[in-house]
């Protein structure tokens, strides 16, 4: 077996295992960490396909940003797992029947033709071919229209988040520097005259 093939099967095995653990792990933090592992191994598989930009982006964006945020949410929210699992057994028979039906149907439609994967091999490119450059060029030339619109979607996300959470002016305890500089000693220290208490 070629070394590359070995690496592929090794990474795939970890990927499948991590993917299974994501949905079977009882602890949501563990599930999130297994998802991180799955992303890492998936980026390894992409690296094998010489898609180094996608591999790096996957690690940076998903592992670095999305999953960290996700972990924060999982840790901060008090998720009652027993309540989430309620009704699992009563839904299981119907759910598994539908799932089996769908798998069987897909199998029937596709048969053994493996989606024609073997007809097209992975394009080989020379060593100096730059993925980042190719993706960048496509994004800013041919795909400029959906690219710009994707930024509009992000803008809508921002507007929606602000519109749904902001409630009038903030009433927080921040300090206003322009008023702060006018402070006098009398504003800060108050001398109280208190009569001494008599001890009984």
């Amino acid at each position: 077996m070629e070394f590359k093939t070995f690496v592929f099967y090794f990474l795939s095995a970890i990927l499948v295992f991590a993917g299974l653990r994501v949905i079977t792990a009882r602890n949501p933090v563990h599930a999130a960490l297994f998802l991180v592992l799955a992303f890492f191994t998936a980026s390894g598989v992409w690296m094998l396909l010489q898609a180094e930009f996608l591999a790096i982006a996957l690690v940076l964006v998903y592992v670095g940003a999305v999953m960290v945020l996700f972990l924060f949410v999982v840790m901060m929210l008090d998720i009652n797992l027993d309540r989430l699992r309620e009704g699992f057994w009563s839904y299981l028979p119907l759910g598994s029947i539908i799932a089996l039906l769908m798998v069987a149907e897909m199998g029937l439609v596709l048969g053994g033709n493996y989606l024609g994967l073997f007809e097209n091999s992975v394009p080989q490119s020379s060593a100096e071919y730059s993925n980042v450059q190719a993706v960048g060029r496509l994004l800013f030339t041919e795909y400029v229209y959906p690219f710009e619109l994707a930024s509009v979607i992000l803008l809508v996300g921002i507007i929606a988040a602000v519109a749904l959470t902001q409630r009038g002016k903030r009433k927080n305890k921040s300090v206003s520097p322009s008023q702060q500089v006018f402070v006098k000693a009398g504003d800060r220290v108050r001398v109280l005259q208190m009569p001494a208490e008599k001890s009984d």
């Binding site: 496509l138 619109l149 979607i153 519109a163």
Partner: protein, 495 residues
């Protein structure tokens, strides 16, 4: 210099100038709103309406009537797109006028973001209408959906609205997933995302049929979700019922035009070679929608919920036109069938706007008036608006000589011409069942004693617009020919 560099052509921005204008103005209005101190946001409102009118002028001025592509064939400008866009602007303008009073009475909605989100949703629909690339279709759809989720949730303290937004979001995300999965399969089978190229590759037989059909199932499921037809309809009643009525009005009107365009672009422009396959799927969806929509609507006591089920049945009816385009490899009837669908969806949007507008007209002082009981004895309170509402209901039911009748008639004509006599009979039977609940509204308005005798107070512009809407339903019923031939002509020049 690589091949990609040499092939790239500078896009012709003029063709997409309406979209560019809309985007710029939406961003400008977002900033403008920061400086508006007025609680009623009159400046933002006027600017939004002017933007829509401006976009209409731009679309009209740049419409050449020819099919033209730009942005590396991701954008297509054609007569069907231009016509649908003009109707889209008109619908949004009417929706904003109707909603004005309602949102002013609700503090959390009377904000500048409402107008910006509506404009961004409109932009999303414009992108969908003019899409010639699977990525563009998807991006436009997401832009529309995200804006709609936020609009539904905007009345934050209302529990039903939040619940509706949550359901809408989760199911919408699922539908987008289905759609994307189908698109990726089609990409896998044809090796391209460009809709016209997909059609070419299918025509020359360069694609793996089994993967294509596999992808098509998911694509049609995703489309069905977005159209809201059975069995992917479950979100419609909850969202229509839970959302603030002003937003329900928006969801129930403009996106239907965009969804129609999406069906045409994906199924007709792209996958016409597979017509036999998707027509069978659509027949199933259509019959189920008409059955469940019309029967479930009878049981509703809430008008918004009833209209939601009626929307399901109408979308099912509209799909009838789509299933009769190609008969046994013969596309002779295609133009007739698709233009009847287009006419149906346009007139449905017109009527739907009027019906939800009427609920908004009656909702005053922060109260909703979306129960059937609220319409009791409307004739005693305002004979004119009761008459307008009656025309809307008659049109939806398909009573002769209202526009809904001709819409149903032209679709049925296409169905019979294609030889699906049984389908036409089924459609007529379910429409007859549907008549019951539309006519019940009329009965309640005319023969029941009013529980609320307060006269109807509404701004003048809304009254005028509502009357115009009612008259349009009646007049288009008497002279449907102009709009019908416009639909047929625009499709003839676009397909």
């Amino acid at each position: 210099m690589t091949l990609a560099e040499m092939q790239f052509q500078m896009p012709d921005l003029r063709l997409a100038s309406a979209e560019i204008f809309m985007l710029l103005m939406a961003c400008l209005i977002l900033i403008l709103d920061l400086f508006v101190k007025d609680r009623k946001r009159t400046v933002t409102f006027v600017a939004t309406q002017l933007t829509l009118i401006g976009a209409a002028v731009v679309t009209f001025a740049t419409s050449s009537g020819e099919i033209a592509y730009t942005f590396s064939n991701m954008y297509v400008g054609d007569l069907m797109g231009d016509l649908l866009k003009l109707l889209l602007y008109l619908t949004v303008i009417v929706v904003l006028f109707y909603s004005r009073g309602y949102i002013l009475e609700r503090e959390q909605m009377a904000r500048g973001e409402y107008y910006s989100l509506v404009l961004f949703a409109t932009l999303g629909m414009m992108v969908m209408i003019s899409a010639n690339h699977l990525v563009t279709v998807y991006i436009g759809l997401e832009l529309l959906s995200l804006s709609l989720y936020a609009l539904v949730a905007m009345n934050r303290d209302s529990v039903p609205a939040t619940e509706a937004a949550m359901k809408f979001f989760v199911l919408g995300a699922l539908a987008s997933g289905l759609l994307l999965y189908g698109m990726s399969m089609i990409y896998g089978a044809t090796g391209t995302l460009e809709i016209t190229t997909i059609a070419e590759r299918l025509y020359t037989g360069q694609a793996d049929k089994s993967i294509l059909v596999f992808g098509l199932v998911f694509l049609v499921s995703g489309l069905a979700f977005k159209l809201g037809v059975v069995p992917f309809h479950m979100w419609i009643p909850d969202v229509y019922h839970g959302a603030p009525t002003a937003v329900t009005l928006f969801i129930a009107t403009a996106p239907k035009l965009a969804a129609f365009a999406m069906v045409i672009r994906l199924l007709v422009n792209g996958l016409i070679v597979l017509a036999q396959d998707w027509q069978t799927m659509l027949i199933l969806l259509s019959v189920l929608s008409m059955a469940i929509g019309n029967i479930a609507a009878i049981a509703q006591t809430n008008l918004k919920r009833m209209l939601a089920y009626s929307a399901i049945s109408h979308m099912g009816f509209m799909l009838l036109g789509m299933v009769t385009g190609v008969v046994g490899g013969d596309a002779r009837f295609a133009l007739n069938a698709y233009s009847s669908s287009m006419f149906y969806v346009i007139t449905y949007v017109l009527t739907s706007a009027g019906t939800f507008g009427m609920i908004l007209l009656l909702a005053r002082g922060g109260l909703e008036s979306d129960e059937l009981e609220d319409f009791k004895g409307l004739n005693k309170r305002s004979p004119w608006f009761a008459a307008v509402m009656m025309m809307m209901m008659f049109s939806m039911a398909g009573v002769p000589f209202f526009v809904g009748f001709f819409a149903k008639f032209s679709v049925l004509q296409a169905v019979v011409a294609a030889g699906y006599l049984w389908l036409a009979i089924v459609a007529v039977l379910f429409s007859l069942i549907g008549c019951f609940y539309y006519l019940r509204v009329v009965k309640i308005m005319y023969f029941d004693q009013p529980t609320n005798t307060a006269p109807i107070v509404a701004p003048m512009d809304m009254k005028i617009l509502m009357s115009a809407n009612g008259l349009a339903v009646a007049l288009l019923g008497i002279f449907p020919q102009a709009l019908m031939s416009l639909c047929a002509f625009s499709l003839l020049r676009s397909l």
